[in-house]
């Protein structure tokens, strides 16, 4: 498998007000909070992606999946920024103010891990479809070890997973993206809709979800978003 297939979005470049270059780098810079997520018009990125999209590509499905995944992450990131500060359990957040040197280090490490992942994918693909012998003998009684400590760890793992991730930092959630999609669709049946109008009476969480809903509708091709300038008014237009 070639390297290119390993990174479906490797050749997707974006041309934005705040950044121009490979999309993958933009993600890395955003994740490390070097570019403010507010400065990045997600709508434009979706547009650029749709322009670059071609069903002729051999890996178009993989590209779409990758893009949808990362776009969803961006939406999450943006909505998190809009909600009260999340108190992370790990100590990583102490370094909110990274020096340029630390930032380069962090980004470099992430890039290496990402490259390592690409190599791994090649290894796994090359070695897939090899099945071991089924002619195994059962182990002799008494040979098998069950580690009690691992049983305890497994209990925690198995039983804790059903607990929903904590959303206490978000406050009570009384609305879903689906709800807001419905609201937008309903309003749009009466013509173009101003985002500002839409979120006027909403709190920050609702506004974030409304934004996510708008982006989601846009990526589904049901809505087109118009924002003549960064931070300018955003208008949702029904697609014919």
């Amino acid at each position: 498998m070639t390297n290119q297939q390993g990174r479906p979005l490797h050749d997707f470049n974006v041309e934005l007000e705040v950044y121009s270059g490979p999309y993958e780098w933009l993600l890395a810079l955003l994740l490390n909070e070097e570019i403010e997520i507010f400065e990045v018009p997600l709508r434009e990125i979706v547009g650029l992606y749709l322009d670059s999209r071609s069903m002729e590509r051999e890996n178009y499905l993989e590209r779409d999946t990758d893009f949808a995944g990362s776009a969803a992450a961006l939406i999450l990131l943006k909505s998190r920024m809009l909600s009260p500060v999340f108190e992370a359990e790990d100590h990583q957040d102490e370094e909110t103010e990274l020096s340029p040197g630390q930032l380069v280090e962090k980004l470099t490490l992430y890039l290496k891990v990402k490259r390592g992942a690409e190599k791994l994918r090649e290894c796994f693909v090359e070695n897939s479809g090899m099945y071991p012998s089924a002619h195994t003998l059962p182990p002799r009684p008494g040979k098998l070890r069950v580690e009690s400590k691992k049983v305890s760890l497994a209990v925690r793992r198995a039983f804790s997973r059903l607990v929903e991730p904590s959303v206490s930092h978000l406050g009570p959630i009384t609305v879903s993206i689906q709800d807001l999609v419905a609201v937008i669709q309903d309003s749009l049946s009466r013509g173009p809709l101003s985002y500002e109008e839409l979120v006027r009476d909403m709190d920050r969480l609702h506004s974030a979800l409304a934004f996510a809903a708008a982006v989601s509708l846009s990526s589904r091709g049901e809505v087109s978003l118009s924002q003549p300038e960064p931070f300018g008014p955003l208008t949702l237009l029904p697609e014919k």
């Binding site: 182990p139 009684p141 098998l144 070890r145 049983v151 305890s152 497994a154 198995a158 039983f159 059903l162």
Partner: protein, 199 residues
């Protein structure tokens, strides 16, 4: 090997992944070959896996074909079985065992419900390894599925005498987490809420 393996290679590969003898038809259908091609392939494999030279032999038994160790190597094979360190249990296997240890005896469905992921394959391998066994049936659940419990072999393998030797569940999992798990398990015993299709 190129992308189109020989008939012999196909038959050989299938025989490796089948513990039980495979019929001529079974081989032909899986390898997408004619019976004549399979017969020809088996002839070649008979030479490759001959009793005279090879540690693995091709047997024609019980109406099918099977790879097996050469009897002449039985001593080494048995020594290997005595010495071999069995494969360590996977994370999934530990989860299933801990579910059954703390919440069992329980059905396959209840195990999957407690873990939130289908666990049938893991359960199968744990039964093969004599760490789980069927101990009865759950008559209250639709279809009276089998109830599974940990075996004596499990306690021996864990170096313990009984359930009491493991830390109490309450010290490991928060009460609200436990309630959720119990609720899921309980739900799995009820008839499916999915409306039945008319037939």
């Amino acid at each position: 090997m190129s992308e189109s393996p020989s008939a012999t290679a196909l038959v050989e590969a299938i025989l490796l992944v089948s513990e039980r003898p495979v019929s001529l038809e079974g081989l032909a259908s899986a390898a997408d070959l004619s019976r004549a091609e399979v017969r020809d392939a088996l002839g070649k494999l008979g030479e490759k896996y001959s009793r005279e030279r090879s540690g693995i032999v091709l047997r024609n038994v019980a109406g099918g074909y099977q790879l097996a160790t050469n009897r002449a190597c039985a001593g080494a094979v048995e020594r290997f079985r005595k010495e071999a360190r069995p494969a360590p249990l996977s994370g999934a296997a530990y989860e299933v065992l801990s579910c059954v240890l703390y919440l069992g005896p329980m059905t396959r469905g209840a195990i999957s419900a407690a873990r939130g992921v289908n666990s049938d394959a893991v359960v199968r391998s744990l039964i093969e390894r004599d760490l789980l066994a069927e101990v009865g049936t759950d008559r209250e659940s639709p279809g009276s599925p089998a109830l599974l419990d940990v075996t004596e072999g499990f306690f021996i393998a864990a170096g313990t005498n009984s359930r009491d030797d493991f830390p109490p569940l309450e010290t490991l999992v928060k009460p609200e987490e436990l309630d959720r798990v119990r609720e899921r398990v309980e739900q799995s015993r009820r008839p499916s809420p999915v409306p039945e299709e008319e037939s």
